[in-house]
């Protein structure tokens, strides 16, 4: 695909089918947030055969732990955290119908294979551009695990939230392609 693509969850197979690693995507609508501790809890519920506190079918999970919200603001700074820490749990969530994740940094081989199997995609947001990114978030509410503070599960409403496709449903990887193109070999 070329140009900018708008995605609005919930996503179906046909929404992600044509996405390619490197595509710029703007997400408008709602996304969920979860990071380390919330993933551990969700995985435990799945392993115990219990229901999840949020419906993740067709949804996108953003790996983020925002700064506290100042009075009068929608949310604090809210950039992506490193994704590999969620690798042990993402496969379980994809089996439950999750269609996408947003973070930074590469995913494991297992997660990439699982995304191919379940027709899901992994997006990157720009790490450390948290103040800029927060401007695309128009509302935020806590859905579960409020006791986890910055790690609580939130529903964010976003408008033209900018991400790049890192892994598409064919298993391509933007990080690998990018480094391949720009590295210089010594010796």
């Amino acid at each position: 695909m070329s140009g900018e693509i708008i995605l609005t969850p919930p996503l179906a197979d046909e929404d992600v089918r044509d996405l390619e690693a490197g595509d710029r995507v703007l997400i408008t609508g709602t996304i969920l947030t979860a990071r380390d501790a919330a993933h551990q809890r969700l995985a435990r519920l799945i392993q115990q055969g219990e229901d999840l506190p949020v419906d993740i079918r067709g949804q996108i999970i953003y790996f983020v732990g925002p700064t506290p919200t100042r009075p009068g603001e929608v949310i604090g700074s809210a950039g992506p955290t490193t994704s590999y820490r969620m690798d042990p749990f993402t496969g379980l969530l994809l089996e439950k119908g999750l269609k996408g994740t947003i973070g930074k940094g590469p995913r494991s081989r297992e997660v990439i294979e699982s995304m191919v199997r379940h027709k899901a995609v992994y997006f990157a947001a720009v790490g450390g551009a948290a103040a800029l990114i927060s401007r695309r978030i128009v509302s935020s509410e806590i859905l579960a695990y409020e006791d986890l503070g910055p790690e609580a599960i939130r529903r964010l409403t976003v408008r033209e939230f900018p991400v790049l496709v890192v892994n598409d449903i064919r298993g391509n990887d933007l990080y690998e392609k990018g480094v391949e193109e720009y590295r210089r070999i010594h010796r």
Partner: protein, 279 residues
């Protein structure tokens, strides 16, 4: 003896915590602009522009540069002629951290290692105290992001691996870190000493202004060599491919045991937040 009030230490630290969360140093902004000049990847250039824009709106709106407002690391150089009045040094530092992270609406990221229960106020800080001659107290504060700290390592090389082994190790560490630590990164390297001394040197070297070179010409040359090799890795801004993978490399060195060659690599993200004050 010169008296310094504990509450002055607290208020000084609180100020550094808050200001460093919103303001990127001029040296970092300069390095990002210089990176934009030499980056050839369009995606890399776009990310550098976004980071500069992020710094601008963070400063303008007093908004945290990054949601990870860090683990609080404090280096205190305490003059031996200083007496601290009205409380202990550690307690005064912790109170400054507590107040800064609270009043600045910064994220509290400290938790119990097993239960992961948040301490709620970003304390305890990691504090290193050095006693030095004189009657001043120098406080260095760093907000260290978890993503880049996670990519840091200490290794004990065989002495025969020498300088070439050190270069390979440091460059290899940045290669393996890839997009994880939010490149372009700043790389602190500690060579020699012991296991913990190398790590401490690696962290301390991060506080030198970007562009600054080691006073030791051999180390200055090594800093340039490693920086060039890192920027040839192709990782680039955000890790999406490009020529600007590191903004700088700083090295500190100490003699070591005849059996050892300790090397520590402390990786810092581009959101390089720190402050320094002398009381």
């Amino acid at each position: 003896m010169r008296e310094i009030k504990a509450e002055l230490i607290t208020s000084t630290l609180k100020g550094m915590v808050v200001e460093s969360a919103y303001h990127l140093g001029e040296d970092v902004i300069g390095a990002l602009k210089a990176g934009l000049e030499r980056e050839t990847s369009p995606q890399g250039r776009e990310i550098l522009r976004q980071l500069l824009e992020n710094a601008r709106i963070a400063a303008q709106g007093r908004f945290p540069l990054c949601q990870d407002t860090g683990l609080a690391v404090v280096f205190a150089e305490l003059g031996q002629e200083v007496s601290i009045a009205g409380g202990g040094l550690d307690a005064a530092i912790h109170q400054g951290i507590r107040e800064g992270y609270g009043e600045g609406y910064l994220r509290k990221s400290m938790c119990h290692p097993f239960t992961r229960k948040n301490t709620g106020d970003n304390t305890p800080a990691v504090i290193h105290v050095k006693v030095v001659p004189g009657d001043r107290l120098k406080l260095i504060f760093a907000a260290k992001g978890g993503g880049s700290e996670n990519m840091s390592r200490v290794t004990m090389l065989r002495p025969s691996e020498g300088k070439a082994g050190i270069v390979d190790y440091v460059v290899g560490r940045v290669r393996e870190s890839g997009a994880n630590p939010c490149p372009p990164v700043i790389v602190g390297v500690g060579i020699g000493g012991s296991f913990e001394k190398a790590a401490l040197f690696a962290k301390e070297s991060l506080f030198r202004p970007l562009g600054d070179r080691s006073p030791d010409p051999e180390l200055a040359e090594l800093e340039d060599e490693i920086l060039e090799k890192i920027n040839d890795l192709g990782i680039g801004p955000g890790g999406f491919g490009g020529r600007v993978t590191a903004l700088d490399v700083h090295i500190e060195m100490h003699p070591c045991h005849i059996a050892s060659l300790p090397v520590a690599v402390n990786i810092e993200c581009h959101s390089h937040r720190h402050g320094e004050k002398v009381l």
